[in-house]
Subunit: 139 residues, 2 copies
Amino acid sequence: MSFPEQDLGLIGAVGRMYRRLRAERGSDELNDTQFTVLAMVTREGPRTPSELGAFAGVTPPSMHQAIGCLVDAGLVVREPDPHDGRKVLVVPTATGEQFADEVRRRRHEWLGARLDALSPEERQTLAAAARILRDIADS
Amino acid sequence: MSFPEQDLGLIGAVGRMYRRLRAERGSDELNDTQFTVLAMVTREGPRTPSELGAFAGVTPPSMHQAIGCLVDAGLVVREPDPHDGRKVLVVPTATGEQFADEVRRRRHEWLGARLDALSPEERQTLAAAARILRDIADS
DNA sequence: TATTGTTATACTCTATAACTATA
DNA sequence: TATAGTTATAGAGTATAACAATA
């Protein structure tokens, strides 16, 4: 192949890890977009459909449907924005908070077991790499 | 949130990096499955639909359609397996090899520029992390 | 009889375009 | 007039079930 080690093996490693982490969510009840929405509003509080669509990288109609699925599942509710009659706020329900915590727990359980099996040096390497990767991805 | 730093920030970092690398492919002509197939057969040689489906995590009919799209695009061809009449081999065409190289070039260009901006120690950290991540993901 | 691949069909997700309501 | 959200409709991708061919 053309570019053997120019990327330090990062592209392959990130791709494999991403697929594995997605599999370890252990729930196929929500798709990627729906999961992103639930994670966002449970972690960072209520958001408008526009904000969620921009973050998830989907169009307003797609986000509308994704939110509708979460509403039907009882995980979030739509509330009118008290300051702007045009806007809607997507707010997690207690069930939604529980569900999000449960998914995070499963995923952390799987990853945590792997991390525990590493040496302190390896863990330190990964923690440092996570910071560097985050900077690169956001650049 | 419930599990602040137990994952060393890896889940978020991997997710962001994956999305960014996908965006930097700079081509929306192929979807994830199709791209995975083309990457696989150009990097590791001809594979059967079953092997490709297992790797990409899709069912045989889905893989069949994905391969069909690549065939229509002139990027791969289906050839009979000389040793087993039931099997089919997906083989990249010259065009397919060129296309895959081009995508890799764009992605490496973006990532390479970021890696060049790092210190030697940071690059070493990332290379070590890539190896560890690969082991974890494949475990 | 098991395995590999293919076809038929339906469902989910997403997008574009058009419409409604509020600022 | 611009912005936020919604509705209508169509296209792409995937899955389950059933079928064909070969080992």
